[in-house]
């Protein structure tokens, strides 16, 4: 996939979504559209605002949320130093972006497809739902801890079926997992597809359920990244032996260029 580019893009706007205790922690960052020939939902970009000095060297990885003829939209949550500074981006600011990186989610127009999103893991499913040729074959279950207004849920909900589940108490999580269990079983019966994106504990649960029901399932992994292009070996995950043919070294594959989307039976999520 030699379609990757490194370009400086202008911020069109950076719109806060919802509030948490009076603070803006979620943003839709809209950038000029890069001159990409093509992209797939599930792929990501590395983002480094041009105004950053060298106190923070790395760019940050973000899923491609949506691409239109006019813009590239990313959706991010403030979790640390980098994203806190990204929250201050204003229209007209320059941002360095390289991508599209990695491989996207499988698209099988005629297969019933279950989208399982945990928190900010909803981001790639916006593009997935909007670019899918037969959105009536999609169903989403979305688990979240912050108010629903923090997430780009509406823009998916207007396209496809599904529900959102707020997790406030431990029982909520148990109920959500039971629901995912049933949905995964249903999709496995129809030889459908299960796609998941979210924090690692969530992915581990989905992986466990998918293997239990022998569902065809893909997981989008999150690890710390420095280069985004497969060079630093900082982002690896343990993988099954059958991936070795693809030039994977000694049982570990880079999430950035061999993923971030992997088949559930091929990865081992035991490492931090």
């Amino acid at each position: 996939m030699n379609n990757e580019q490194c370009t400086t893009l202008k911020v069109l706007d950076n719109v806060p979504f919802g509030q948490v205790a009076g603070e803006n922690l979620f943003f839709a960052l809209r950038l000029e559209r890069p001159e990409w020939k093509n992209w797939q939902p599930g792929q990501f970009v590395m983002v480094r605002p041009s105004g950053w000095a060298f106190d923070m060297l790395w760019a940050r990885p973000f899923s491609i949320c949506r691409v239109s003829p006019r813009d590239l939209v990313l959706f991010f949550q403030v979790v640390g130093r980098g994203t806190r500074r990204m929250a201050e981006l204003k229209s007209g600011d320059d941002v360095l972006v390289w991508g599209p990186l990695g491989n996207g989610f499988a698209v099988e127009p005629d297969s019933p497809t279950l989208l399982l999103a945990g928190g900010i893991g909803i981001a790639p499913f916006v593009g997935y739902a909007h670019s899918h040729p037969k959105p009536w074959n999609l169903h989403m279950e979305f688990g979240h801890r912050m108010p629903l207004s923090c997430y780009p849920y509406e823009s998916i909900n207007e396209k496809i079926m599904g529900d959102a589940h707020l997790e406030e108490k431990p029982e909520d999580l148990t109920r959500f997992i039971e629901l995912m269990d049933r949905r995964i079983a249903e999709h496995a019966e129809q030889n459908g597809l299960v796609l998941a994106c979210g924090p690692t504990p969530f992915l581990k649960t989905v992986q466990h359920l998918a293997l239990k029901h022998s569902a065809r399932c893909q997981l989008s992994l999150e690890t710390r990244m420095a280069c985004g292009v497969g060079a630093c070996l900082g982002c690896v995950t343990k993988v099954a032996d059958d991936m070795h043919a693809n030039g994977v070294a000694a049982g570990r594959a880079q999430v950035c260029n061999h993923g971030p989307v992997f088949w559930a039976h091929q990865v081992n999520l035991s490492e931090g």
């Binding site: 379609n3 106190d55 060297l57 790395w58 690890t223 710390r224 497969g230 630093c232």
Partner: protein, 306 residues
């Protein structure tokens, strides 16, 4: 202007410009091909190669620190044979020096690796990473002991044929000049320095180390003053060419390393700031040299006024 420098003792070897990429930060080069013309670089040093595939360290392996980063990747690689078969043919080695960086646990293994690489037309030189423990001699790092560093150098030189041998020094030593002198006397053709500085980071909330390996190597602009000091001391101790490494992020930095005596430099962590970093640096370097009115890099090199 000609950016080529003479390398003393190596009449048939040269870099078309002094900017190379550092081992472990530029993959096998091919990863960066979408972002620039590899042949514009002075050279590429590939990720550390070992005889057998190595799984590397557990995750997390990298952490960002102020003006730098920590890594404990642990030399994950699929082995030298796999590199020669799968990666090297994809590199434009006819137009660009491809330098193999090697890693081993004893002098015999270093020699075995070198003899495999010495046969390869596509390999321009061998860079020996001596920042690794000598497993057979109680685990002290080869790079921390002058006698052991010399022994590895001799073992590698004996089988290197016409390939220049670059010994890559660790800064985690009491007297880097003494190690440099020892490897020069043992026959090294060039020295590169520095490798990463030993460091660590912790998270007070989770109470965990930032790296699974606890201790890692610090790199990036934070280490540049240490690197510059090391290169200066090494250049005063030896007559073989020296390649400066450590925290380089600008054309000015490249000239700083040349001013203290380096013949060339390697760019490491800066490749993560943006994937076209090294390609742009080559251009910026040419512009800066012109703007400063430097007409002879040879004359500029090592001209620090004391």
């Amino acid at each position: 202007m000609d950016m080529r420098l003479n390398l003393p003792g190596l009449p048939d070897f040269g870099f078309k410009n002094p900017i190379l990429t550092a081992s472990g930060t530029f993959g096998y080069g091919v990863e960066f091909a979408p972002f620039g013309d590899l042949t514009a670089l002075g050279g590429i040093v590939v990720k550390g190669l070992s005889l057998k595939p190595r799984p590397g360290n557990p995750m997390p392996r990298i952490a960002e620190t102020p003006c730098g980063m920590l890594n404990a990747v642990g030399l994950q690689n699929s082995g030298v044979e796999s590199f020669l078969k799968e990666k090297l043919p994809k590199l434009p080695w006819r137009e660009l020096p491809v330098i193999a960086n090697i890693y081993a646990c004893d002098p015999g293994e270093f020699a075995e690796l070198t003899s495999i690489l010495a046969r390869e037309q596509g390999i321009a030189a061998v860079e020996v990473n001596i920042s690794c423990p000598n497993v057979k001699e109680g685990g002290i790092l080869f790079g921390q002991d002058a006698a052991q560093a010399a022994r590895v150098t001799e073992a590698v030189k004996r089988v290197a044929g016409d390939k220049p041998v670059i010994i890559k020094l660790s800064p985690n030593v009491t007297d880097i000049a003494a190690i440099a002198k020892a490897v020069e006397d043992a026959g090294a053709d060039m020295i590169s320095c520095i490798n990463t500085l030993s460091g660590m980071g912790v998270d007070i909330r989770s109470r965990k180390p930032l790296l699974a390996n606890v201790i890692g190597g610090l790199s990036g602009p934070a280490i540049k003053p240490v690197a510059l000091r090391c290169v200066w001391q090494v250049c005063r101790a030896v007559t073989i060419p020296v390649i400066g490494i450590g925290g380089i992020t600008s054309a000015e930095d490249v000239l700083e390393f040349m001013l203290v005596g380096a013949h060339a430099v390697q760019v490491g962590t800066a490749n993560f700031i943006r994937p076209d970093f090294s390609f742009r640096l080559v251009q910026e370097f040419e512009q800066l040299v012109e703007k400063m009115g430097i007409t002879d890099l040879e004359e500029f090199r090592g001209s620090l006024k004391l």
